[in-house]
Amino acid sequence: METDLSRVTLRPFSLTDAHDFLRWASDVRVTGNLRWQTFTSEEEALVFIRDVCLPHPWRRSICIDDRSIGFISVFPETGDDRFKAHIGYGLSHEYWGKGIATRAVSIAVPQVFNDLPHVLRLQAFVQTQNKASQRVLEKVGFQREGLLRKYSYVKGEIHDVFVYSLLSSDLLPLP
């Protein structure tokens, strides 16, 4: 069934997303690759939205019909490195394989460069076996720069990752 991708929108999280948030954030298929914990209760979700999502420099809920089905985060580094920002995203499993993550990241990228004008480089580190996420980044126009061996230490495991980047200078100027 084709999903009408115009139904995909991004917006900041709100506390009222806690129930929908829990639906996908309790799913280890979604959280397994992330540094995020796997959530187990609406209380945990509420606290996390309040204490982490709301004050976050740039985090958006991926929505269909304004209901949260995932997230995109952009986290700039600090000090001299603040021109670099890490992008990460997660999507409810029932919405995989429909082009939604690609659409969401495509919407996010120009917004991010506009909202965070000091950011010159967006980067993503994707585990080598996570081919679906690699395809999302490639479709959006990220460049794969290389394979970083034993680079990522997440939840007690060490992984090889592909590093991808998109520079603000990669974006075509608006006509």
Binding site: D80, D81, F83, K84, L120, R121, Q123, Q143, E145, G146, L147, L148, R149, K150, Y151, Y153, I158, V163, S165, L167
Partner: protein
């Protein structure tokens, strides 16, 4: 365009002079000043050339002595001609960096120093899974050093590091405990 002197000379496969590594101390200050004031040496370093002996002493006290792993690179007479360090990035990764006085370029000294560190560091730091190096795309001499030792060139990270106010493309290299030294 400025030509780096070490790219013009052939680097020998083994150094013409034997080197060893040892901890640096404040008594190395005068030898330190020789390379730390040299603009050719600091070209790809994040720091500017040192402007006074007092500033050099302050740098040794505040950065060199407390560093978790930093060694002077010495010739037979035990005088320091440069330094090499491994800085933890996180619990499993360390970043190698090195600086050699320009008078000693082109003799395979940096290569030998990096080789010594790559051979020993994983025994000293068994938690380290990855030794990495970030080299400016224009710093061909340093890229050759790492390649000669057996580091793997993983790719060019675009606009990855801010060097003296300019955002630079950097080449990422790594060496793992399972890799072979060349």
């Amino acid at each position: 365009m400025e030509i780096d002197s070490c790219t013009l000379k052939a680097v020998s496969s083994s150094p013409s002079e034997k080197i060893h590594l040892r901890p640096m101390t404040l008594s190395d200050i005068d030898d330190f000043m020789v390379w730390a004031t040299d603009i050719n040496v600091t070209r790809f370093c994040t720091w500017e050339p040192c402007t006074s002996r007092e500033a050099g002493i302050a740098y040794i006290n505040s950065f060199v002595l407390p560093h978790p792993w930093l060694r002077a690179i010495c010739l037979d007479d035990d005088r320091a001609i440069g330094s090499i360090s491994v800085t933890p990035v996180d619990s499993i990764r360390g970043e190698i960096g090195y600086v050699i006085g320009s008078k000693y370029w082109g003799k395979g000294i940096a290569t030998e120093a990096v080789r010594l560190v790559a051979a020993e560091i994983f025994k000293e730091k068994p938690e380290m899974e990855r030794l990495e190096a970030l080299v400016d795309v224009d710093n061909i001499g340093s890229q050759k050093v790492l390649e000669k030792v057996g580091f793997v060139r993983e790719g060019v990270m675009r606009k990855f590091m801010c060097l003296k106010g300019n955002v630079r493309d950097m080449v990422m290299f790594s060496f793992l405990p399972s890799d072979s030294l060349l």
